[in-house]
């Protein structure tokens, strides 16, 4: 018996050994191949989304095309939504060799500042010339970090517009006049009616009150520039009268029972397809109502809470960055150019193989086949240019024109293109983030009285050194501003 057990152990260890060495040799084989001249270079591309069953099949097609066009093959690896942040960060920090990676928002800025990405200004004049022409210049301007571009933004809606979205059935039932709605305060009479007459409906699907500011980090951190008026000085928005007024309204709504009692800690996602809400808040894009109504299976209607505005967050919503560890950044750039300008490749990557994953109608529009949903369901926004995508048969014909219009009509936020470098105030920021997490959710959902809690919040922020951070932001902002034209 003992010998047998020992045998098992030895055998498994041996097996481990051989498998280990097998893996090692396989890996080194692929990396050797990539360097040789003439051989197609394999581009390693990491992007967000649930891994799909047919990715290999689709990319076999992609590779046929890219081999011909740019003498390269592409290996796309998807990392699931929820795993993305942590996993991509470990990969980047560990200096793993790969070529292209999806990134966005603050993580783009942080990693660019840390030196994780190649700056592509030079390549945009050579390999990416065609690409630069295809992109909205506001996008490229907005994602500059220290004056350099560190990634290819996805050409899509470049602005943000927050909207109040209403359940249309209820709006019509009580004959509400939505044209009068401009601010949070205007909602009150409607909320009251709903609260009194619709017992199964929560008047407000939990949201945080909208404030018209341009934020350095995000809406819960106390560093902002006003969109109107003085656009040159950073403030703590939680000290402004407007914030006090808005949060008071919100608190009044909360006390009136328009929001769920647990709003501050709520984790409800308010799925559209359950009709238990009257008004909610969201970010819009052209034809958003159509999209939302389609997924809700009943009609919704939106009213803007702000004009479309181009902000740092909206331009950096999706970026493909070339890793500093890429062995062949030029090839990666060639691929990104092709992906964003070549309709055939772009649609292939996005929709799969014609006849397998989708069908083309006579008028050029397309229709998904079941295989697209089951086996190749990839996100469009994280892959590339929207404007060369084929339209679905139920899409409005002028969809992309409306997108262009939307982008053109947008106002520019004060800090568009300014990215704060937090190196000198890191300890202060760590404390301030904790304090903000403590107060913001309760205040913004109206769960607590702002008369009492806003002063408390601000006092704690002072103690944590907010003034030092504000000063540093102002200093960097002035420097940046003086360099703009």
């Amino acid at each position: 018996m003992n010998k047998k057990k020992l045998g098992i152990m030895l055998a498994s260890l041996l097996a481990a050994g051989t498998l280990l060495s097998a893996c090692t040799s396989k890996d080194s084989a692929t990396s050797e191949k990539s360097g040789k001249n003439g051989q197609p270079y394999e581009i390693n591309w990491y992007t967000i989304g649930t891994p799909q069953k047919d990715t290999e099949k689709v990319f076999a097609e992609v590779n046929k095309y890219t081999k011909k066009k740019i003498n390269a093959t592409v290996k796309m690896t998807q990392i699931d939504w929820g795993d993305w942040d942590q996993k991509s960060q470990v990969m980047i920090n560990s200096g793993e060799p790969f070529d292209i990676i999806f990134t966005n928002g603050t993580s783009y800025v942080q990693n660019a500042q840390k030196g994780a990405f190649k700056d592509i200004d030079g390549m945009l004049e050579k390999e990416g010339k065609e690409l630069k022409e295809a992109l909205n210049p506001a996008l490229l301007e907005g994602i500059k970090v220290n004056g350099k571009i560190y990634g290819v933004p996805t050409n899509k809606e470049a602005a943000r517009q927050s909207v109040y979205t209403f359940n249309k059935r209820l709006v019509e039932k009580y004959h509400f006049d939505l044209s009068k709605v401009k601010t949070l305060e205007d909602l009150e009479p409607m909320l009251k009616t709903i609260k009194e007459n619709e017992p199964g409906v929560t008047p407000m699907a939990t949201f945080k009150a909208y404030l018209p500011y341009d934020y350095i980090f995000n809406n819960e951190m106390p560093f902002a520039f006003a969109m109107e008026g003085d656009r040159d000085h950073v403030i703590n928005q939680f000290e402004s009268d407007l914030t006090m007024k808005t949060y008071k309204t919100m608190h009044q709504y909360y006390k009136a029972g328009f929001l769920k009692e647990d709003a501050a800690t709520s984790k409800d996602s308010w799925p559209m397809d359950v009709e238990n809400w009257f008004v909610r808040m969201g970010d819009s894009q052209p034809y958003a109502d159509l999209l939302w109504s389609r997924s809700a299976k009943y009609d919704v209607v939106s009213v803007p809470a702000e004009d479309p505005t181009t902000i740092n967050d909206s331009v950096s919503g999706s970026i493909q960055a070339i890793s500093a560890t890429s062995k062949n950044p030029e090839k990666a750039m060639e691929f990104l150019t092709l992906l964003n300008t070549d309709p055939y490749l772009r649609n292939l990557v996005d929709k799969g193989i014609e006849g397998v994953h989708y069908e083309k109608n006579d008028d050029g529009t397309i229709k998904d086949l079941p295989a697209r949903i089951d086996r190749y369901n990839v996100p469009s926004y994280s892959l590339g240019n929207f404007f060369v995508l084929d339209l679905y048969e139920n899409d409005p014909k002028d969809k992309w024109d409306k997108f262009e219009e939307f982008n053109k009509s947008a106002k520019t936020a004060p800090t568009l293109g300014f990215h704060f470098n937090s190196d000198s105030v890191r300890s202060e920021l760590a404390s301030i983030t904790n304090i903000s997490k403590e107060f913001y959710p309760a205040l913004a959902t109206g769960s607590v009285d702002p008369e009492e809690y806003l002063p408390k919040y601000n006092k704690k922020l002072k103690e944590a050194g907010i003034d030092k951070v504000l000063k540093e932001i102002q200093k960097q902002f002035d420097e940046w501003k003086s360099k703009q034209k």
Binding site: G95, G115, D262, A264, N434
Partner: protein, 309 residues
Amino acid sequence: MKRILSDLYKNRVWLLMVLPGTIWLLLFSYLPMFGQVLAFKKFRIDPDGFFASVMNSEWVGFDNFKYLFSTNDAWIITRNTILYNLVFIILGLVTAVATAILLSELINKRLSKVYQTSILFPHFISWVIGSYFVFTFLSTEHGLLNHILGWLHVDPISWYSESKYWPFILVFMSMWKGVGYGSIVYLASIVGIDRTYYEAAMIDGASKWKQIKHVTLPMLKPLMIILTIMNIGRIFNSDFGLFYQVPRDSGALYGVTNVIDTFVYRGLMNLGDIGMSTAAGLYQSAVGFILVIITNYIVRKVDEESALF
């Protein structure tokens, strides 16, 4: 030199036994430790890989540690972490040992088996799921506890904004989740006790209670001491899920739920600074290490064979 070699040869059997484990420890624990250097550096990524990044990043001294001490909150989180852990260590020890002894004494062995299996269940439920469960009890609107209060004509309590209840809730949840797992070691140890001791005790007419006091507990003592020493080493660390998921990250409760691990997690959200997170880990380890050395020293003075090393 020759002596060393002959010593090594004399111990070859033992060395061979520790060999696989030692290789593992060197590979998976000691080799990665060079990363601790990052606690003193401002991390910058180098295209030549991580090692180059570590070497070429700029030294910043103790800058990365500053945020752990700079504010009033720093004092609160340190206090919370230590107090909770002290309670967890003491109560955890008592409940685990008590449960193990009671389980081993039950006459009906089948019942004992069923109970054992049951108390292990919480170990399988992640804190995320556990927090849903707590929520059904404490939710202001639909919560079971508030329903019960309603029957008793007591005003409902907004549990997630009343911090005074939370130390008890957290301690209860921690015991709930840990007791099954914790009692297994002791149970196995009790089973391993030579039956002849009990027989001798019974011949002397010792009552059950006396048997427990004079046979079982002394036999468990080395294990209790070792486990306590090891827990003291982790006194600055805490179960993240318990303090983050279970209170639903409610700001009103931070005064009693914010511990070092949650503070670091929230604080670095906007910074993503690997130097600062390494610093926090190093700080926790270093304090734990010092405490273990001290405890072990004291234990050795009192009772040498129970000491860890």
